[in-house]
C-alpha cells in the first residue's frame, strides 16, 4: 500500500467518519480502507473519538445569553446612575420602614413576614429593614436593574 496514499487518507479520516466528505471522496477513502489494515484501525479509533464527544448541557446557551444580557444592562449604567439608584432604593426603604411603624393604620398595604421582613404589596418593589446593607453586590445590581435605573 502506497505510503502517500495512506498519508492522504489519514488526513481525511476525521472528515470521512464525520460524514463531511462528498460521495466520490468518501468512496475513495472507503476503497482504501478495505485494503489497508493500518488505516482501517486508525479509522476505527477516529470514529470512537468522535463518539466520545462530550455532551453539551442543554441549558448552557441560555445561561450564557442571560449572563451577557445582565452584563450589558449593568455596564450601560454610569456610576452616578448606580449611586442615584442606590440613594433612591435607600430612601424607598426608609420610607417603607417608617410606614411600617404605624402599619396598624393601614394593615392591608403590607404583607408582614414572621422574621420582620416585608413586601410593598401594590407595585412589586421589594423593600425591608435593614435591606441594602445586607445585600451582596450581585443582589444590589439585580435590585437596581429591576427598578429600571
Amino acid at each position: 500500500m502506497s505510503e502517500d496514499r495512506c498519508t492522504e487518507v489519514r488526513e481525511r479520516l476525521p472528515a470521512y467518519v464525520g460524514g463531511r466528505l462528498d460521495p466520490a471522496a468518501a468512496a475513495r477513502v472507503r476503497g482504501h480502507l478495505a485494503g489497508c489494515a493500518r488505516c482501517r484501525a486508525e479509522s476505527e479509533l477516529t470514529a470512537l473519538l468522535l463518539r466520545a464527544r462530550p455532551h453539551v448541557p442543554e441549558d448552557l446557551a441560555e445561561r450564557i445569553q442571560t449572563s451577557i444580557r445582565y452584563e450589558r444592562a449593568t455596564v450601560r449604567r454610569p456610576w452616578w446612575g448606580l449611586a442615584a439608584a442606590a440613594v433612591a432604593a435607600l430612601t424607598l426603604g426608609i420610607g417603607v420602614a417608617s410606614s411600617v411603624s404605624d402599619r396598624t393604620a393601614e394593615p392591608a398595604e403590607y404583607a408582614v413576614e414572621e422574621d420582620g421582613a416585608f413586601w410593598l404589596s401594590d407595585d412589586g418593589v421589594i423593600a425591608g429593614v435593614p435591606v441594602l446593607s445586607d445585600l451582596s453586590d450581585a443582589a444590589l445590581q439585580t435590585l437596581l436593574a429591576d427598578m429600571g435605573t
Binding site: L49, R51, A61, R69, R72
Partner: protein
C-alpha cells in the same frame, strides 16, 4: 441591509459579528447558540470537568463580546472564540492545585447509539476508554485531536487556536493519534 427579523441561524458569522458589535442582542444570541458547543468542548478538553467547562464557556463569550471591537476578522470568529476558550481554560487549570478526574458519566449517552444492545455496550466502553486515554495526552496533542476529529477544524485553524503553526498542529495531531492507537492496542 439585513433587518433584525432577518437574522437567522443561517446568517453568516461575519454579519452577525458586525451586528453584535453595534449592540444587536439577537445577533449575540445567535452567535452564542451557534458556537457554545465547540467552546464548551474545548474547555472540557483542557479541564476535564463539566462545571469548569461551563464556567469557561460563559466567561469566553463575555470576554469575546467585551472585546468585539478588537476582533479584526483575520481569523474566523469560531477560531477566535476557541483561542479565548483555550486561554481561559488554561488559566483555570493553572489556578487549580490538581486536576480532577474526568467524569465517566460524560460518555454515558454513547450507550444509546449503535446497531444492537450488545454491540452498543462494547462500542460505548471502547469510546469511554478512548476518552480517558485522550485525557492523558499532552495538552497540545489533545487539543489538536479534539479540534480535528470532534470539531472538523483544519490544521491551520487548529494552529491559530492553540498558538502554533499549521505544521506543528499537524505534527501534534498525528503524534496524538499514534499514541492513542498504541495505548488502545496495549
Amino acid at each position: 441591509m439585513v433587518k433584525d427579523e432577518d437574522l437567522t441561524g443561517k446568517t453568516p458569522d461575519a454579519l452577525l459579528v458586525r451586528r453584535a458589535r453595534d449592540g444587536d442582542s439577537r445577533a449575540m444570541d445567535l452567535l452564542v447558540r451557534r458556537h457554545h458547543g465547540v467552546v464548551y468542548r474545548v474547555a472540557f478538553s483542557v479541564l476535564g470537568d463539566r462545571d469548569g467547562a461551563q464556567d469557561v464557556a460563559q466567561d469566553t463569550f463575555l470576554k469575546a463580546f467585551r472585546g468585539l471591537s478588537g476582533f479584526r476578522g483575520d481569523a474566523a470568529f469560531r477560531t477566535w472564540l476557541i483561542t479565548i476558550a483555550t486561554n481561559e481554560a488554561r488559566g483555570v487549570l493553572r489556578r487549580r492545585v490538581r486536576r480532577r478526574e474526568i467524569a465517566l458519566d460524560e460518555a454515558s449517552p454513547l450507550a444509546e447509539r449503535g446497531p444492537d444492545p450488545a454491540e452498543r455496550s462494547v462500542v460505548a466502553d471502547e469510546a469511554r476508554r478512548a476518552l480517558r486515554l485522550l485525557e492523558r495526552l499532552p495538552e497540545k496533542q489533545r487539543l489538536a485531536v479534539t479540534l480535528r476529529v470532534q470539531e472538523g477544524l483544519s490544521f491551520r485553524e487548529i494552529g491559530d487556536a492553540i498558538g502554533s503553526s499549521e505544521g506543528a498542529a499537524r505534527v501534534n495531531y498525528f503524534h496524538g493519534i499514534r499514541r492513542l492507537k498504541e495505548w488502545m492496542d496495549a
